[in-house]
Symmetry: C2
Subunit: 317 residues, 2 copies
């Protein structure tokens, strides 16, 4: 193990200690599909996705480092918003979440219900980074980035750490990849496991920036936020820290892409054969498995979340 990997693996271990009691240890599930398949259903996690692992690690690290932080801020229309709202509320910090105006009202309501202040007025997918910097300057709040942040990456690394703790003989793990928080954390945990474990990221063909980044060896940026059923991975590029872990340090072995039809099939199979209600993003690794795009052998799939839109799911079924 390189010193780089050793250091980050230790940080994941510290994250696991830090967030214990705030997040659930989700079970590992077997299915009727294939006895070589092991599912880590993070849809059963607090708030319905893996995101509180990183958010709690970031917020708890912040309060340990800074005597009196004034608050935290996040930009998200989805699972990261709820995760940051919950983590901030738990430690008694104000949380401000910028959510684009056209976001799903149910997710906005869920974020407010967790005690966060939400600003939507004038926020678009395009201008949100700039509005973020303005609001940060005004309020002095600390940003909790959804993926390009070491505390977040180390927190997300606890998913695969638990999975390999429960199933030490896995030969491969596959996770969704958007900005690369989950995949970078998973790669750290898998490559420091002590036995060889292949690490595979899965993304939609329609949002294949990580695939192209893997191929070219430099961060490739999509011209605009892609349209895909998997609305949790609509980022246009992975982060700098995520690139460093995943590709500069070669801790990720492969990026696999799946079509929209393969994602839809996976959501249906998850419902009908596995009996988990996944959001399309959470079904990405299952989509790759069902399409025959993952290596043979004992494989762990990180099913990252379940916060699907009723209307979308009803159409898929």
């Amino acid at each position: 193990m390189t010193p780089y990997l050793e250091e980050h693996s230790e940080q994941v271990g510290q994250a696991a200690e830090r967030i214990r009691g705030h997040v659930r240890r989700t079970p590992v599930l077997n299915t009727d599909l294939d006895s070589d398949l092991y599912l880590k259903p993070e849809c059963l996690q607090v708030t319905g996705s893996f995101k509180p692992r990183g958010a709690f690690n970031a917020v708890l690290s912040l309060t340990a480092r800074t005597p009196r932080p004034s608050g935290v801020i996040a930009v998200s229309s989805g699972n990261h918003a709820q995760a940051v709202a919950l983590a901030a509320a738990t430690v008694g910090l104000p949380a401000l979440i910028l959510i684009p105006e056209d976001a799903n009202p149910a997710k906005v309501a869920a974020t407010r219900a967790l005690g966060a202040e939400v600003i939507q007025e004038g926020i678009t997918f395009a201008n949100r980074e700039q509005r973020l910097r303005e609001v940060m300057a005004e309020r002095g709040y600390t940003l909790v980035h959804p993926f390009d942040d070491w505390d977040v990456i180390h927190g997300q690394g606890t998913v695969v750490r638990e999975l390999l703790d429960d199933e030490p003989d896995l030969q491969a793990v596959a996770t969704p990849v958007g900005g690369g928080g989950l995949l970078a954390g998973s790669a750290i945990s898998a490559k420091s496991h002590g036995r060889p474990v292949k690490v595979i990221g899965v993304e939609p063909v329609a949002a294949d920036d990580a695939y192209r980044t893997w191929k070219t060896g430099r961060i490739e940026v999509l011209p605009s936020s892609p349209t895909t059923l998997a609305d949790g991975v609509r980022t246009t590029a992975i982060g700098a820290r995520n690139f460093e872990v995943m590709f500069a340090n070669r801790l990720v072995d492969e990026i696999v892409t799946v079509t929209e039809e393969e994602i839809a099939t996976a959501v249906r199979v998850a419902w009908s054969r596995v009996h988990l209600a996944l959001e399309p993003t959470g079904a990405l690794p299952l989509a790759a498995y069902l399409a025959g795009k993952l290596p043979k052998g004992r494989t762990g799939l990180v099913l990252s979340g379940g916060n699907a839109n009723f209307a979308t799911v009803a159409t898929l079924l």
Copy 2:
């Protein structure tokens, strides 16, 4: 503990040993709904419902008792059919399943895929008992009754046995009740737990024979198979053995009824907040909880299965 309860509890323990390796030990889940709620999601069980527990116990007991059984037979259009087909295939016995002509083709296909012979021609919900006796006489196969059978009752008792083993401090458990196999088995396990645990059966208002049986103290029979979203509990009466355990021996404390609207809400909440894909029957205890019809305190809900019809679910969502 009465000698009656002690004897049956021991049989549940033997069933647990017998079926180990053939069924899954499903996890116990916490949710974001209420920290006092503990879910036993049998939708994650082999074939998607709790039924293989009873079916494996019956088939394995049969092969232990009888030198060369010629085969097994069951009447079912749902989860029991697949469970018996799987158990018989596992031990290498022929299985014949009688399924009414109007049954869901997907369930028929799933039963055939497990290696069972299926007879549908001329089978109706009304005449199936008689056709059963005819076919049993012709073939000499042994019946695996879906609920009025001690091996089946003891097998189903392993669900709550595991639940209380994992969560010994529960104050109440709630399960669906149709013919009473799951509820009778659950009552045996709960009342032999060593600490007081209330046992509650949940059924649709539209199929309230168990409720009326509880009230009158004798087996009440519905005039015809009821129409309800919860198609797993469309039986017209509980069985004699189930009555004996549940009411004659007073091992069940209460029967609660829920409306169709309450069942629909529970399926939606299971999807959106718990991220489990339940069939309406499997959501009955959650429906009772959400409607405020269960006692306060640490409560275990047995979510019995997940084999929902896509069309039904899409409409509910």
